[in-house]
């Protein structure tokens, strides 16, 4: 059902031929998580650029795999033109992906791609940065300033597939380093306000923490606030860091309460899959999607300013279309 059917054809984009108004579907594990707000802008922008319909954003709100499988199957039933799936479980999506491929629907994975070393599915390509790897990076970065002591890793919902691999990765990084670091995973809460209280309590009970890491947006900003509240930088705390770029986290970085936060460039995780699926469709499958590491970016006190001063679609902080100016040399290694 490639070139027949589909809604009315759109005007050609750029040098590309006229195409039907293809509709792609993104299946996500935490549909309402702010992390993926830029992803949704990314997929929307790519679709607009290419004259496609705005892709559907669906899946599960609480990383329930069965709901994601249902959403995937429904999308296949609805005969969408392409699928991007966050493959948070290597086994669950094998069959749905095969079914989609059998039905002629191209499938890529984004943000998560099965387990480490085992994608599990037969998706055409993966666009993103592994959750586990990003967690590993979180730990490695901490190890640059930390040789020993107690480290707490905060996780809002243990067992939830969007963040559990990150904390596993971080733990592994400490283990691999062989340094005398004790790493403790600490559960916070789906409710950010409750999470803050829990991190606060943990800090009160563990005055000699040398590291505080977090693997979700809420916990990360809360770590910053707790560090500030107890002026922990002036005590034994060597390192504090986490994920995502929500405003309070950026404030924490800027004020020096947090050392770094990891930006997984979620915008690209939405933009590129649309692009790849479009290329696949437009070329009759000749242009196969390619594996793409969307990378990860450490935001530190040095480079936090532009994130704070500009609100952009690329970080999710606004819906406005903005041209973010920059000047001067680009930092490099």
């Amino acid at each position: 059902s490639d070139d027949d059917g589909g809604p009315s054809a759109s005007g050609a984009a750029g040098n590309f031929p006229e195409t039907p108004k293809w509709k792609f579907s993104f299946v996500n594990h935490v549909t309402t998580n702010p992390f993926f707000t830029p992803t949704q802008y990314g997929m929307e922008d790519a679709a607009t650029l290419l004259g496609l319909e705005k892709p559907q954003w669906t899946g599960s709100q609480n990383s329930i795999v069965a709901e994601m499988v249902n959403a995937t199957n429904t999308a296949v039933s609805a005969k969408v033109d392409g699928l991007a799936i966050a493959v948070v479980d290597k086994d669950a999506f094998r069959q749905p992906v095969d079914q989609a491929l059998d039905a002629g629907i191209p499938v890529v994975s984004y943000n998560a791609d099965g387990a480490r070393g085992d994608p599990g599915t037969n998706r055409l390509a993966y666009i993103g940065q592994g959750l586990y790897e990003s967690g590993y990076a979180l730990g490695q970065r901490a190890l640059e300033t930390l040789q020993s002591g107690e480290v707490a890793g905060f996780i809002a919902t243990p067992g939830a597939l969007n963040i559990q691999p990150r904390i596993d990765g971080a733990q592994q990084a400490f283990k691999d380093s062989g340094k005398p670091v004790t790493f403790t995973a600490v559960a916070t809460n789906a409710d950010v306000t409750r999470g803050l209280s829990i991190i606060d309590a943990y800090a009160v009970g563990h005055a000699n923490l040398s590291g505080m890491l977090a693997v979700d947006a809420g916990s990360t900003s809360a770590v910053g606030q707790v560090v500030k509240k107890y002026t922990m930088r002036s005590k034994s705390l060597k390192v504090a860091g986490g994920f995502d770029l929500i405003p309070e986290t950026l404030t924490g970085i800027q004020e020096g309460n947090l050392d770094y936060t990891i930006d997984q460039q979620p915008y690209l995780q939405g933009f590129l899959p649309v692009l790849y699926l479009y290329f696949f469709k437009i070329s009759g499958g000749l242009m196969a999607p390619s594996e793409t590491n969307t990378g990860l970016l450490f935001v530190t006190k040095d480079n936090v300013a532009p994130y704070q001063n500009t609100k952009s679609r690329y970080e999710g902080s606004t819906t406005d279309k903005v041209l973010v100016p920059r000047s001067g040399p680009i930092a490099h290694g």
């Binding site: 509709k23 579907s25 996500n28 549909t31 309402t32 949704q40 705005k54 559907q56 954003w57 669906t58 899946g59 599960s60 709100q61 609480n62 990383s63 329930i64 795999v65 069965a66 709901e67 499988v69 249902n70 959403a71 199957n73 429904t74 999308a75 296949v76 039933s77 609805a78 005969k79 479980d89 290597k90 086994d91 669950a92 094998r94 069959q95 243990p158 067992g159 939830a160 597939l161 559990q164 596993d168």
Partner: protein, 326 residues
């Protein structure tokens, strides 16, 4: 002929479940009009698979609600049961056909614990099962290391298909279970006593009904059904995930299905067929709007409004029904 039809219509309208059924059918018509693929075989399978787990858990929830209790832990028992299966098979080499009833038995034992605390120590079931919810979640996360595992090799093939992976497997189970417990609730002593215990706790005891036994039994049934759903879903999605059931999500949906179907939170009255239809309504709503292509944020607004409209229609229909009753 006309009379036979009339008798049939009357008989149908006299049933309590009639109004929810009409709502479910109305939604079907609406979504078929909105999307031609709604009634294709594939999509009906989707709807069936989304209906089944909620409906099965709702069966237990109806029994509990009718007897005046509630169980928040059933969703986490659903997540725990397939891990029990996995431990038994992969670590202890128990054959799958033994491991399966064993897992259900352990699930039922959690229900027994709930029931004993509620009836013997008189702790409210809401807090009791909140406690077991957390405790079992802890056990689950500790033993599973909060990470999914593939389903055991031994489970694959016939057992997997038959228990949940077959396209119509889970809904078949659901229909069988609904049929059995519909009879239990409406045509057997157990059901009569369940209604009595919830409807008039003092009166039931005065009549010599042993309320504890009934309640404990219903807790065990609910937990066992939760366990079954967990294993069924693991088989269907081909993985054993600590987040099957999404913590309280499954429980929540099951309670919603029960209430939509006409079960009162206050106890003493409920219908199991209604709960099945309630689960169907929820599944249709979720599937239909997804099929139409609404995205996450919008879908909640639509879903919320659709629930309100459907339930207002439901009430209106059932008032019509009661008014027209002879």
């Amino acid at each position: 002929m006309g009379k036979a039809l009339r008798t049939f219509t009357d008989g149908f309208l006299r049933r309590r479940e009639a109004s929810v059924l009409l709502v479910a059918l109305g939604l079907m018509v609406y979504f078929r009009a909105a999307s031609p693929v709604f009634l294709t075989r594939e999509n009906l399978i989707n709807i069936a698979q989304a209906t089944a787990p909620t409906a099965i858990v709702a069966v237990g929830i109806v029994l509990l609600l009718v007897s005046g209790e509630i169980d928040l832990s059933v969703g986490i028992v659903a997540a725990f049961a397939p891990f029990l299966l996995h431990f038994a098979i992969d670590f202890y080499g128990v054959p799958v056909l033994l491991a399966f009833p064993l897992a259900l038995l352990i699930a039922a034992a959690i229900g027994l614990l709930n029931g004993l605390i509620v009836t013997k120590l008189h702790v409210a079931s809401f807090v009791t099962t909140l406690g077991t919810f957390f405790a079992v979640q802890g056990l689950l996360l500790i033993t599973s290391h909060a990470y999914p595992v593939p389903i055991p090799e031994e489970m694959r093939g016939r057992f997997q298909t038959w228990i949940g992976a077959g396209p119509w497997a889970s809904i078949t189970w659901a229909l069988i279970i609904v049929a059995i417990f519909h009879i239990v609730l409406t045509r057997m002593r157990w059901g009569l006593h369940t209604i009595s215990v919830g409807g008039n706790p003092v009166g039931a005891t005065e009549a010599g009904i042993r309320a504890s036994r009934i309640k404990i039994g219903n807790f065990m049934i609910t937990s066992a059904l939760g366990g079954l759903v967990g294993i069924m879903e693991a088989a269907r999605i081909n993985t054993i995930d600590p987040n099957i059931g999404g913590g309280t999500t499954l429980t929540f949906y099951a309670i919603s299905a029960a209430v939509i179907g006409g079960t009162a939170l206050a106890g003493g009255s409920g219908t199991i067929v209604g709960a099945l239809l309630g689960a169907l309504v929820l599944a249709e709503l979720q599937n239909g709007f997804n099929l139409i292509g609404y995205s996450a944020n919008t879908i909640y607004l639509i879903l919320g409004l659709a629930i309100l409209v459907s339930m207002i229609a439901n009430q209106y229909l059932s008032r019509l029904r009661r008014a027209g009753r002879t």
